[in-house]
């Protein structure tokens, strides 16, 4: 049995027929070849599969594709291509806040959501906000630094243009 779903992914209308059990993560990766969304645990513990659903970060492994029907989904590819995370990407690159790159896309999606909610988070707040994103390579400090630096830059740019 399959179900027809229709949703907006990275600004594009998508219509597909899927099995009800297919996760949003598998749908994005296998049907749409959006392989920037990664799978690390398939139980919502590692954060590698974070995407924006209706603008809010969700674990794409815990959402069924059919639940996303009628919704708007944005993945790291979409955020990257519309320039929404260019400063975060530059800060991560400059601070070497990634090694193998597997957690990175989920980290960036989460950082983007965090800075939307809390424009200038304290260091502890950043660490707390990342508490659902597992990284085995970096030890986290560089990631915290990169997010803090992006927040600082955004704040000072906003001040300069005010």
């Amino acid at each position: 049995m399959t179900m027809d779903i229709e949703l907006t992914v990275n600004g594009e209308q998508v219509r597909e027929s899927v099995e009800p059990r297919m996760s949003l993560a598998d749908f994005l990766r296998e049907r749409l070849q959006l392989t920037g969304t990664h799978l690390g645990c398939e139980m919502g513990a590692c954060g590698a599969c974070l995407v924006l659903l209706g603008g809010k970060p969700v674990h794409a492994c815990l959402v069924l594709a059919v639940q996303a029907s009628g919704e708007t989904v944005e993945t790291v590819e979409g955020l990257s291509e519309r320039g929404a995370i260019a400063d975060l990407q530059a800060a991560f690159h400059d601070r070497n806040a990634l090694q193998c790159g597997f957690c990175t896309t989920g980290m960036v999606v989460n950082a983007h959501a965090l800075l939307g909610e809390t424009p200038v988070p304290a260091r502890d707040e950043i660490r707390d906000a990342l508490s659902g994103n597992y990284c085995r390579c970096t030890g986290y400090e560089a990631i915290v630094d990169a997010i803090a630096e992006t927040a600082r830059k955004r704040a000072s740019d906003a001040e300069a243009s005010a």
């Binding site: 990664h38 193998c100 597997f102 597992y134």
Partner: protein, 792 residues
């Protein structure tokens, strides 16, 4: 001759030592990583495995008829179908005298030997369909008694962990100096402890993944494999499946974490290759997280009894150590499960002048997942035991832990030095590191603050742990034992027609920045910028054969290979330029993309012009001129058997004595990895390594019940270190290049992991010691801390 140029690194190498950023990081940040898990090939099938639900048993019957009829299923394999395709493997090496291990093959034949042992393999159009069919395989296993505890396994009448074993002892060795018993007899003080180090595992965020693609028409097998050692697997696939090596290509694209876990051979990868050979179609296997926990190698699992003899002034006279390590039902292939324990007993007391030593190692089989090499092989155990005893001695003698170390560290002017366990150290810098650490952490102020807080019922602790790290193993390391594991590396460097540079090299990249480091080194030999050097890694068809990345050898051995290849090409370019410019090549050099006058730096011609002439107009060159702009170079380390490095770590913790929760407040590392090629990447290797050492000190443990079932095999139950629990890490450096190479770089990837746990253990004991409590087991869970405090 420039190609035999041995001049050392200097200001003429402007990029070595600089914090160049990693270009590949941009791809990952845009979601454009290319991991094996992302690969989908035409007609590709997905594999899932039926696994033993119990730790030990005899297979009575496997009925796959319903599974074979399940939607989407193409084939179901059991051992009878698949194992004959593969030459069995045995995880022993000759230099570990008398070690034993049973041979292994793809799928369990008559007996299952751990909970998770693969029994049947399903190939279907989708992974979901393959998993559905797994549920339909009727598996009748007669449960047998499992061998779970290592000490019990050594009893004479203990059930054997695998068929064909005379005992559950895989390997035993004793290292001993002559005067060790005298040292203990004469000692003014003896301190001792029994330590337990739990099992933990790598938990790479990208699980193990492989896509095997056999094309029967051409006889070509291409394996896309998330591994750090593609050449090793090319050799294994060729030999175990009787294929010509030239028809086996292994490609390691982006690899989502490895840490030693992805260089071992696993049943599932081998079965995936076998299935592709059998079906002539691409087959993909990606371990899910549960499968990772019950089939990726585990690490550590040691029980250590140790004592240390000291004289009245606190000079360490000797250590006497007994390490029992439990490795699962088999020793891993091709590196064995003995190397970990072997390094434990050889690294004990390594930073100290200690003249005498006895170390006994027993490596024991049991019915659990195999253990083997994982980041900082053996180091965390040796370091934790040594440093815990040094701290106990300091308490006994009433000495400050820093003073205790200052009295015993091998002095910086005492090199070369041979340790009591037989390791030869070229040049280490323990005293300089200790002194730098003391300043970096403002030690005296921290002690004052600790004392002040103690008055208020706040229990803080400071732990110190110097360490020695084994890096850059020499050419004989595995080879002497008969393993086909290369300790040399190779590079091909070429100047392109437009004057840029490409370097294909055998060391591999898993995010540590190998490619960036290589580009910096090559750039300096050819007078270009690192951005103009394109580095290719991880493909056995397009790069020369070599050892790849393990044992912290990427920068030291891979870097030296790149340096020598770059200098060879430099010589070729200058020879050609000399002919074009009618100058003596000795008067020419390469800088800023040009051939320049060696003395004045005046530009003579662009490299792009050399590339253009050599490629498109060789007819204009003088008679006999060699227009080759490609150089190949291999390098096998010689001199000292290892490039040992050293450093020291400190941990500051706060223990909540009511809940047993340990909070990591801060961590410091002073490290000496020889020549630093890229300080940014070095520091991030250290930080990542430290957290990988703190994880098992506080959280990570593979828990088993008495029947051999792993009871926490998910990321909700197995605790990995997360951002909110980890401290900021302050790093300092001392730089002592090795004289064994031109480059002078040693390794750094495992340094953080080597001593972080030891520092944390000492810090916790420093915090709870005044309450009369001591903890000797990791992870130091809240419950274990409360037990140590006598609260439960």
């Amino acid at each position: 001759m420039r190609s035999s140029d041995t001049r050392t690194i200097s200001a003429r190498d402007p990029h070595i030592g600089q914090a160049h950023r990693r270009e590949t990081a941009r791809r990952h940040l845009a979601g454009r990583g290319r991991f094996v898990t992302d690969i989908a090939l035409p007609r590709m099938l997905h594999a899932a495995f039926v696994r033993s639900p119990m730790a030990r048993g005899r297979i009575v019957e496997i009925d796959t008829s319903d599974a074979a009829q399940s939607p989407g299923v193409v084939r179901v394999f059991t051992a009878r179908d698949l194992n004959p395709l593969c030459q069995p493997w045995t995880g022993t090496l000759d230099h570990f005298a008398s070690m034993v291990s049973a041979p292994q093959n793809l799928l369990a034949e008559d007996e299952v030997l751990w909970a998770g042992h693969p029994v049947a393999m399903i190939l279907a159009r989708t992974r979901a369909e393959a998993e559905d069919a797994c549920e339909l395989v009727m598996l009748d296993i007669e449960e047998g008694e499992a061998c779970v505890d290592g000490h019990a396994a050594l009893a004479e009448d203990a059930v054997r962990a695998a068929p064909g074993l005379d005992s559950n002892l895989c390997f035993q060795t004793v290292l001993e100096t002559k005067a060790v018993d005298d040292a203990f007899a004469c000692a003014a003080h003896v301190v001792e402890g029994d330590f337990v180090f739990g099992r933990h595992t790598a938990v790479t965020l990208e699980p193990r993944a492989v896509v095997a693609d056999f094309d029967a028409a051409s006889g070509q097998l291409t394996v896309h494999h998330g591994t750090q050692t593609p050449y090793q697997f090319q050799d294994i696939y060729a030999r175990h499946f009787a294929l010509p090596e030239s028809r086996v290509r292994v490609i390691a694209p982006d690899v989502g974490g490895s840490f030693g876990m992805k260089l071992h051979l696993y049943n599932e990868e081998m079965a995936t290759v076998a299935a592709s050979l059998q079906l002539g179609r691409p087959v993909k296997f990606v371990a899910d997280r549960l499968e990772s926990f019950v089939s990726d190698i585990h690490a550590r699992d040691h029980k250590v009894s140790a004592r240390m003899a000291l004289d009245a002034e606190g000079t360490i006279l000797a250590m006497d150590v007994d390490d029992m390590t439990q490795i699962g039902a088999f020793s891993t292939y091709p590196r064995t499960s003995v190397a970990e324990g072997n390094q434990v007993v050889r690294l004990m007391g390594a930073p100290y002048k200690m003249p005498d030593y006895r170390g006994r190692l027993s490596v024991v089989f049991q019915n659990k997942v195999q253990t083997s090499q994982y980041r900082a092989v053996g180091h965390p155990i040796a370091c934790a035991v040594t440093e815990a005893l040094v701290d106990k001695a300091a308490v006994k003698l009433g000495l400050d832990p820093i003073e205790m170390r200052a009295r015993n560290l091998v002095p910086d002017d005492a090199y070369p030095f041979v340790s009591a366990t037989g390791y030869s150290f070229e040049k280490l810098s323990h005293e300089a590191c200790l002194s730098k650490l003391r300043d970096l952490m403002d030690y005296d102020a921290l002690r004052a603050e600790q004392a002040e807080l103690r008055q208020k019922g706040v229990y803080r602790g400071i732990g110190i742990a110097p360490f020695v790290e084994i890096t850059n193993p020499g050419a004989a390391f595995y080879g002497v034992g008969g393993a086909r594991i290369s300790a040399q590396d190779g590079a091909v460097v070429r100047l392109t027609p437009s004057g840029e540079v490409q370097c294909a090299i055998s060391v591999t990249e898993q995010g540590q920045g190998t490619e960036t480091v290589i580009s910096q080194i090559v750039a300096d030999q050819l007078g270009v910028s690192p951005e103009q050097v394109k580095v290719t890694t991880g493909d056995t068809d397009t790069t020369p054969s070599g050892g790849a990345t393990w044992a912290c050898r990427g920068a030291g051995i891979g870097g030296e290979t790149a340096l020598r290849a770059g200098r060879k090409l430099q010589g070729q370019i200058l020879a050609l330029a000399g002919q074009i410019l009618q100058s003596d090549p000795a008067d020419l050099a390469l800088a800023e993309g040009h051939v320049v006058d060696a003395n004045s730096g005046t530009r003579r011609m662009p490299l792009a012009e050399i590339g253009r002439i050599a490629t498109y107009r060789p007819d204009t060159l003088p008679e006999g001129a060699d227009n080759s702009l490609t150089a190949a170079q291999h390098f096998a380390p010689s001199g000292y058997p290892f490039d040992f490095t050293n450093g020291i770590q400190a941990s500051l913790v706060e223990v909540d004595v009511e809940t047993g929760i340990v909070r990591l407040l801060k961590h410091w590392v002073v490290e000496d990895c020889g020549r630093i090629i890229n300080p940014l990447l070095v520091d991030e290797q250290i930080r990542g390594g430290v957290v990988q050492g703190l994880g098992p000190a506080l959280f990570e443990e593979c828990l088993y019940d008495e029947t051999g079932q792993m009871t926490n095999a998910s990321l909700a139950d197995y605790l990995v270190p997360m951002a909110c629990e980890m401290p900021d890490i302050v790093i300092g450096h001392v730089e002592t290049p090795t004289n064994d190479t031109i480059l002078g770089a040693k390794g750094v990837g495992e340094a953080g992991t080597a001593a972080a746990g030891a520092a944390a253990l000492n810090a916790v004991n420093d915090a709870i010691g005044p309450l009369g409590a001591q903890i000797h087991q990791t992870p130091m869970t809240p419950l274990r801390v409360l037990k140590a405090l006598g609260h439960v």
